[in-house]
Symmetry: D3
């Protein structure tokens, strides 16, 4: 290829790729100066939340009062600096009042931090559940350091609080960071009780409108999804309605089971592996492959 | 253990581990100076391609003409610097004419860049498909920023172009980066039409000789694989023949379905979850578990 | 929200989050100065082991004697510096004799390094198995650079040696790094023979007490797990007993098959995809979905 | 020392060092939330200015139109992002109207960028002067890459423009970065004509109210300072009045000469090394040690 | 050059350069496992000390109580971790009792931290002196952020405390870091009173046995050195005796003056620029060039 | 300022600053694709040379044979990779034969490495001289770690070898790195014997055609420069002729002395501080201020 030909091809590609008209379909024409949340900032925010929630594990703080105070204090200060910027970016296509947005973003950050003690209390119940549920676990240290479920739940429980505070985009970005890290995909809109655990975890999917009680355990590959053939007149899935399962308390779902649609799984149920469940399951049931109704 | 014993053990290990004879089975004896593509360089190449393809999302460019031009221009310049080095490394066990290789590597890079406008056009159809196919998606921003399928398809579509240009090793390395990031394993040799999407995605496998039409949607855990018992006289799988499925247009495959072998799935087919399909499926079919022929 | 209100909420959160009493349930009260292994140090240790085991692939060493020697020598020196610190951290809740611990940590490091030649010999058989088992593989280079199974097995085989040397926590952290990277979750306690391979790999789980022979191949999504309903009087899984399958030699297990409990799969067995196996399988069997006993 | 004693000493030190009252003398009590310019941000700003002014030297841009445009465009975009933040920090103790400050900081940044073409034109005359003035210089490349005077003058000429735009603190921080790098200390308030050069440069001092004509050359260790014994009634140097020398055109000052006070050095003067000059020097003079009046 | 010749030359060079015998003259043969302080660790130690001493300037702490406490607390914790390691390295050629050394290094670190409040008090007097002594200074902010003298004195005053605590090597390394940064070379053994300042500073040298009173000001290029012709019988300078000047209170020394030998400069003296002083100067004198005795 | 006005000013500045015509005077029009040596690569090259020359000091190598070998071997390998690229960049405006240049750059690199043993031998004599010449020096460790003269001489002695091998630009860049770090400016063209030292060093200048014997000691601020009034018919200094002093053996030059022009200072001479010397000095002289002829 001649140098001229090369240059011609490159110029043509650069012109096309940098032409705003060619991005018309995927960007906000009416708001030319918007920016988007930064993945690296969100990664740091997740690290800070993990450090504040488990300071002796993720922050190298020693468990004496002064060391914990300095670490937690610095991390909270850093959160207050960087989280509001990301919240502003997430909201910026939705408002023109930048001053009000700035104030609201700072408030949301404080409100999130004020929730972290409760988030930690719940996560400690998850640690207990993981420890009690795995014969291979040797210590709480091992659970908190090694088990992907704790990382996925820490991200989810923080993201869920931000979701409840009305923040767009960021909750989903935070749970996707955990999805990439662990293979566990929990939508930040889901509601999950205490003492929740997932063994191994790769391939687990928990949909946006799931409601899960206390003391529930899932194995790898479990899907709590939407019943898929419910389409609107254009052939697309209907948006914005409850469409994922409700699980009660004290439930175990074995690997690769698939539970679909706005059905209710009662308390004290066991669902076997590789099973496809699309109807309500009464409390106390044990469902095996032969019992399940296929799609 | 005595210091002498320690030193003896270490020396023995170092001598063995640094002895070229002990690597004889896995390295190219006849070409002692070859090097291999660098994973960190390929990671940067992927980041550059994502930035050029979605500049307002991955490159912090504002959607006005000058900002887009500077970002895209710089990123293309950087691609032209680092991609040829990796292409040379990938080819270097296959040729001795270093000058011809250098020239060809530069040309391939220009050819890839010249294809990126078409790659973007196709990826925009994938963004639309993901948005239309997920009731939980709130905006195109969310799809492009958060959805693992877009990351996996961006890597795949770039890697596929390099595969068509005859580059060894690098296409596979690029799709494996996405596999590690998203749990979605698409072989760069596969052929995939427009408006393709995958929901959640963890565990999806799309084999090297798959051909997929337009407007196809897969769920997590779907395998489009080779029919496995076809072995040669030595008991190994036969290499180099079409061995993965052909999917038509407007198809949905639900979670954990497994479609194996050079079979054809016709247009407008729905395949249910957890199903094992090893025979052709006529257009318009809806396959549920009861209908499927097991292996 | 007023500034005073904000400050009050923040102070309350910081006080709670930095109060050692609120971490009582998950930290070692009796050993206030313990620290834990560092994930970034373990990441470096994994990189060093990969570099020593495959120096021309992960360390940019050229395959001539002097270059290999310098690289391997430097990497072993670095391992000797940083691995003992992590071993000490892993043991530190279990002993008060710091001098003895320091000495033992240095010895274990030497013992691990002395095992690396054997680890490499076994890994080369795994590379061969992956190459022979995949029609899409074009070279050993591609296997070693791209295939997630090699990364997962390198981590597992190193972690398993540390497990045999009695090191707590670190083996699990090392296999979890591979789990996050590849979606393949192999417990370091498992015993795995030569010529082992896993195709694609996402979602594979291999439990702590598995014993696997030579020349075994798994596909994505395969679980070799514990039979789950075996609980103690408190309703928790019984700990510390053999509870995962024993696989013989020359076995293939297709995608998403689930093999549970302390059962034995004989030599020369093929187990089909999506199957749930909870009983012994005699040598030479081919198990399809219709044959399998469900849970 | 006992552990208690150690802890007591540390707590006492931390309490003192973190007590705002103990910093009362050096911080702004009335403005508790001010921050200061960041040295690392200013270092980046200097790098960006150098890159924009000499793009083929400091920015790796190739001297063809498109490459230059992409580099300069990106660097200007980055300057517009980070310089206003530093200007706001520099002004923040002086104003309470944050919105007006933000607007003014953005304007000053644009005004600075608009001046950079003239700054470059003058710097090119300085490069010529350095080349013509040094028998050891082999090319303009060498002057721009290696000669400390060009680094010091680039910082000074940018800082001087910011000084003229009324920015506090930052101009001085920028010239101090060059002082640390080169040993040449030019106050940003000084006025310096074209074709200015300094050979070697270590120890040169040019005071805040100096006025220097065109075509002036200084050697290492030259001081253009204030006449020092002019004190006010409290024994401190009088502030805010012209107190440094005025130099005309076509002047050479040899090494370690010291020129002090608001004196005028006429055109076409040569001042010998190690000389102390405190009176006016008429045009055309050659001053040697014997001629100089000592302090 | 042939490849063989190249390889031969390289091997020869590597063999020589890595032969311990060839380093015999400059390393400790009798202590083969010693290491030396790390320049990057010392750079971090200096940054921590600057941050603790001027937290609102070098540590981005806001001047409210909680922010100061978190920053100072974290920085002191980090100092306690990394300074003892460097102290151990500095001492390690002088002792074989590693346990005693470890204990002493930790104690010295605590003792240094306990001195930092006094160090800060003195540095605040230096800030005042710099502000009062320079008509160009506009604020304390400018002095602390920009003036090289404050950086040089911060390093010196910390290094001097470590010198008094008997630490070898490290004090000198710390003052050399400032020498490189500012061109001001103060030996950590010197004794310097309050309200000390240096204008511009490049080229200033203050020798190891200098004693300087309060309220002294030096200009650039001033040397307070040893009288050089005092040699021992082998022609080398005599070591270990007081050999640098003693300066009283309220003294100004102008640029490039050189004061040599164990002479005494009385209170309230002014010494002019470029002067060479080798004899005592009585209190109240004003020394100009004509008055000075040359060497 | 209106947004339009801002955009207009910025566009105008960017257009000017990225216009190749406006750089015409300082870049190579006839060679549009040249690049220049990279300062960061040269910084790494200097670090590698320091590490190879003083491995136990700058490379953390322990003084046993294997550790030294691994460190030196790796560093030489890295030098062979990055130095030729810089040499090619330095030569690229002078040749069109890229293959020949590549070969020559590799050869020069080998030749430099082959000289490093001799460079080290000489540097060890410099260490001895610094130790013997300073009463404050406590060990060779202190000299090598802390004394700026050793850093400056290491850079100079390496740069001088590259200068002798005919490499343009790079030698000067290497000595300027030391000039910035230490304030000592030694031209790589100068010739300097063994046992050379400089005390303190700030402000020392040693010109391109200096020749210095063995056992010479300089103090801070000494200039060995060109006699400056020797101009050509255009009023510029005459280039390319010997113009700096020749110093014999066993010479001491005290601080701020200035020795100018192609004069000869005989053996065993002492030159006092602050003196200006422009004529030959016979062997055995002691020159004080009264004796010196001023310019």
């Amino acid at each position: 290829m001649s140098v001229n030909k090369e240059q011609h091809l490159l110029n043509k590609a650069i012109n096309y790729l940098s032409d705003p008209d060619q991005l018309r379909d995927i960007i906000h024409e009416e708001k030319p100066d918007v920016s988007l949340p930064s993945q690296s900032a969100l990664q740091e925010i997740v690290s800070l939340c993990r450090a504040v929630l488990f300071p002796t594990f993720y922050s190298n703080a020693l468990p004496d009062e002064s060391s914990l105070l300095f670490h937690v204090g610095m991390e909270v200060e850093r959160l207050r600096k960087i989280l509001p910027e990301q919240i502003e970016a997430a909201f910026c296509t939705r408002t023109d009042d930048k001053n009000a947005l700035k104030k609201r973003a700072a408030e949301i950050t404080v409100e999130l931090i004020a929730k972290l003690p409760d988030v930690r209390k719940t996560l400690i119940t998850d640690v207990e559940a993981a420890y009690n549920g795995d014969p291979a676990a040797e210590s709480y240290d091992e659970i908190i350091c090694c088990y992907p479920v704790i990382k996925a739940l820490t991200n989810y429980r923080v993201a869920h609080e931000l979701h409840l505070l009305g923040v767009p985009l960021i909750p989903r970005l935070i749970t996707e960071l955990a999805h990439s890290e662990t293979g566990i995909d929990i939508h930040p809109g889901a509601t999950i009780g205490t003492h929740f655990t997932i063994d191994h975890g790769t391939g687990v999917v928990i949909g946006a409108t799931c409601i899960i009680g206390n003391n529930v355990k899932l194995y790898q590959g479990v899907t709590l999804g939407a019943k898929s053939f419910c389409l609107d007149e254009n052939g697309n899935p209907v948006k914005g309605i409850p469409r994922h399962p409700i699980l009660g308390n004290n439930i175990v779902v074995y690997s690769n089971a698939t539970i679909l649609g706005r059905i209710t799984i009662g308390d004290n149920v066991v669902i076997g592996g590789n099973i496809w469940v699309t109807n309500d399951v009464p409390a106390g049931s044990v469902i095996r492959q032969g019992d399940a109704k296929t799609m």
